[in-house]
């Protein structure tokens, strides 16, 4: 059995004298939920695993939305002088494609992994602030829906590109409400990411299981932690930029209006100070996922753990000093260009270290080609292509030819799709049994993989050629005779192959679920994996760990199954069944569910609509936010009505959200859930 460090019996929360919980229940439908059943449970849950699943599901929905937009783009460009979309609609579609894929697909998908896996990988029962976690999700979702509602109520999507350069984003050049929705929608989504970043950083730093030193955390947790730090410091910068844009458009200020003395380059600087760390925010989680999958299926530990971690940290730091490489031709002056060109080239070094370490992990390994491993290995290869093309435009002179052409489109899709999406797809196959308790079918999985890899390369590979042949980005059409016809057609065909692969993925989910009834359950550890999440049952019980494990080193779970003898041979010391926990613990303190995060989050889009259409709408929105904050704060710490078999313990109460990503009050939530405890107390 697992070595158990002290089983501290956790008392039901005892309130200090003089403090009586506020237990009136005047709130009708919003009466404190008890959890456990049906859709209301999902609306009120504060369980990091359910929140993670909701992030994942929503992200996949927006993947489909963004994917349909991508297919429209490719249909329009399949042949010269395409007539599928008008120029106006095309500009909206490519803008919303970019915004959706970055902010509404890949970031929340990474957030899904972060939410679900960080507490499990560090041996915690939940995140530090469970209700803030729910708040992050609901705010993000309301921002995402708000952003997309501009198709219906805003007169079309934003038409300024995801980078939304001023002055083209100004009222004079983009008079529809699309850009307003872009600015306010991203502000709302930004609050969500900021709250989530604080929450997850505190979780990583304070909630680790006994013995889980920082340098015993799995690489995935490390990469996610670095990502959260990047978010923490990058989001306020884009927040400033978006506020200034919003003030320009709604209140008539002149920040970006050159006619009035504003400086269009200010937007570019603010946007890319956020925008470049954003690239690492997107890619580092996938690096983490790959760093979990490759060792598992190579049957070897990750090669150079400390170099993997430090190269991640180095990327995180250096990512702040390269933003102006997006502006080499903006006219920022040759000295700045030279400086940023140099810093950009050297960020290739830590990235290269990662790639070589992955290869070294496979070196001498025994490689099992599951779908997850196929995705992970192809991520390394595809990201290498994206990284190398990145080096070619770190050369400022070469970049003057390459920037704003399809070569760049190829580059960042190899990074974001080839690196990010393929990596996270591998992660989905890898952790699917852990999350849902059934394996995705491998045969269909491999079909999904090959279709996606081939479709991806057919779509974005030719774009390298197109870009170097001079095809500009963001053009809604092109003439015959410039040599663009052939490769554009190939790219369009490729994009439909990707779409097909996504259909196969969804089909696989559905079919595997049906077939699972006839198959043996996957058990806690179907892949013979290495980190702590594999020692608990699949799907993970609500309380995560029956007993919080004490950690003795990196790859704790693997070392509970195997030992290395004096000759360096691996010997099994324990079967999975005996080493794993069976999820039978009862009475573990868990945070109580709450509706207030949802109510608070719903107030924000109302304020957004109010700012755009009629300021009076801000009043109910503001009231909702304020009321939810106070109700949240007054909600008793320990729900007196909660049933005692499932003893609830709440961690309370914060109102830290003032809707501006700005200040908040200090009393945060906190959780005791990470503490090592078992409580045997059955009712």
């Amino acid at each position: 059995m697992t070595p158990t460090n002290a089983t501290v019996t956790e008392k039901p929360l005892e309130l200090e004298s003089g403090v009586t919980p506020f237990v009136e229940r005047p709130l009708g439908v919003l009466t404190r939920p008890q959890g456990g059943r049906g859709w209301r449970d999902w609306l009120s849950t504060v369980d990091h695993k359910k929140i993670g699943i909701m992030y994942g599901v929503s992200a996949m929905v927006f993947f489909v939305v963004g994917g349909v937009e991508a297919l429209l783009i490719r249909l329009q460009l399949a042949v010269p002088n395409g007539g599928v979309l008008s120029a106006d609609v095309y500009n909206q579609v490519f803008t919303m494609h970019g915004v959706t894929m970055v902010f509404l697909f890949i970031m929340p998908l990474a957030a899904a992994f972060a939410n679900y896996l960080i507490p499990l990988q560090i041996g915690a029962r939940d995140v530090a602030f469970p209700r803030l976690n729910a708040l992050s999700y609901w705010i993000w979702l309301s921002g995402a829906i708000f952003l997309n509602s501009s198709w219906i109520v805003g007169g079309g999507g934003a038409d300024c590109g995801w980078f939304c350069y001023s002055p083209n984003s100004g009222l004079a050049f983009s008079p529809s409400h699309g850009v307003d929705f872009y600015a306010i929608g991203l502000l709302i989504a930004g609050i969500a990411s900021l709250v989530s970043a604080i929450n997850l950083i505190v979780t990583c730093l304070n909630m680790r299981a006994p013995g889980m030193d920082l340098f015993r955390m799995p690489v995935l947790t490390w990469m996610l932690l670095i990502t959260q730090f990047l978010l923490l410091f990058a989001l306020p910068v884009i927040t400033v930029a978006l506020f200034l844009l919003m003030f320009d458009r709604l209140f008539g200020s002149d920040f970006f209006n050159p006619d009035m003395g504003g400086d269009p380059l200010l937007w570019q600087h603010l946007f890319w100070i956020f925008g470049h760390p954003e690239v690492y925010i997107i890619i580092l989680p996938a690096f983490g996922v790959v760093s979990e999958i490759i060792p598992t299926f190579s049957r070897k530990p990750i090669f150079g753990y400390s170099f993997m971690v430090f190269s991640g940290i180095a990327i995180g730091f250096m990512g702040w000093g390269v933003w102006a490489h997006h502006m080499f031709v903006s006219g920022i002056g040759p000295i700045s260009v030279a400086a940023f060109s140099l810093s950009t080239m050297f960020i290739a070094v830590p990235t290269g270290v990662k790639i070589l370490n992955w290869i070294a992990t496979m070196w001498g390994g025994q490689i099992r080609y599951t779908t997850a491993m196929l995705f992970a290995v192809s991520t390394v290869g595809m990201f290498t292509i994206g990284g190398l093309s990145g080096v070619t435009h770190a050369l400022a002179p070469a970049d003057t030819q390459q920037t704003d052409t399809y070569y760049i489109v190829a580059h960042f899709h190899y990074v974001i799709f080839g690196g990010g999406v393929l990596g996270l797809m591998g992660g989905l196959y890898f952790w699917w049994p852990k999350v849902f308790g059934y394996l995705l079918n491998e045969r269909r999985g491999k079909l999904n993989f090959w279709l996606m890899l081939i479709g991806f390369n057919l779509t974005f590979g030719p774009m390298h050629v197109l870009g170097l042949q001079g095809m500009s980005r963001r053009i809604d059409t092109y003439s015959a005779g410039f040599g663009f016809e052939f490769w554009n057609l190939v790219a369009t065909i490729g994009s439909f192959i990707i779409a097909l692969s996504v259909v196969v993925f969804f089909h696989n989910i559905w079919r595997s679920k049906r077939e699972a009834a006839d198959l043996p359950p996957p058990g806690p550890d179907p892949w013979d994996a290495r980190s702590l999440e594999w020692m608990v049952p699949s799907p993970v019980p609500e309380h995560n760990f029956d007993e919080v494990p004490t950690v003795d080193g990196l790859d704790e779970w693997w070392h509970r199954k195997y030992a290395i003898d004096d000759d360096g041979n691996v010997v099994r010391i324990s079967s999975v069944q005996s080493a794993a926990q069976d999820g039978s613990a009862r009475g573990v303190h868990l945070p109580s569910p709450s509706f207030w995060p949802l109510v608070l989050a719903l107030g924000l889009p109302l304020i957004g609509y109010g700012l755009i259409f009629n300021l009076w709408l801000c009043v109910p929105g503001g009231l909702m936010v304020g009321m939810a904050m106070y109700a949240w704060a007054l909600e008793p710490v320990d729900d007196p009505d909660a049933d005692h078999g499932q003893h609830h313990e709440d961690n309370d109460g914060d109102g830290d959200n003032d809707g501006s990503g700005g200040s908040g009050d200090s009393d945060g939530e906190l959780a005791t859930v990470g503490t090592p405890s078992t409580q045997g107390g059955y009712e």
Binding site: D654, G662, G668, T675
Partner: protein, 211 residues
Amino acid sequence: MSNATLETATVDDHSDQESSEHGPSTGISNTKLAMWLFLGSECLLFGGLISTYLLYKTRRGPDNLPIPTDVFDIPFTSVSSFVLLMSSLTMVLALAAITRGDNFGFRIWLLTTSLLGGVFIGGQVYEFTAFLREDVGFTNNPASSAFFTLTGFHGVHVSLGIVMLMSLFVASWQGKLRPQHAETVEIAGLYWHFVDIVWIFIFTVIYLIPA
């Protein structure tokens, strides 16, 4: 909010003790760590706003309209800045009071802190209206847009701080805030000091360094 604050602190002590015994952690409580992280993020927010102001501070636009620097009343703003600085001192005194269990002293100092903050906000409102009377409006030119945005953001932060302090005051009044909750006060104080320090920067950058 007050209730929550108290109960939070209760659980807090409990959990911290455990996590420091059993799991590696920073030794800083979750809430306090969250506040530090939040303030780190806020540094970048104000950094962005201050940079914007510095870039634009002399840009009058083609119509050559007045900019805030033309109408600064530095003695007046110096006094209100001094008031805000003093509120940091009274915040320290409030924390000291609750730590030693002096509830009455705590309430007095907390109220003083809120009042000083309120005076500062009143001063800012007066300053804005005075500027508007002298035709320095938000939409004049980039310089005035940047001025009102930066000081306005700061004003909103101070106002939220006052709401927070008043919530603590009410909690204390109801007898729910006790010496063991000193950390909650400390965390509120962190925010309050941060807002003050930011103002020192803003005051120096906007008012004292000549255009």
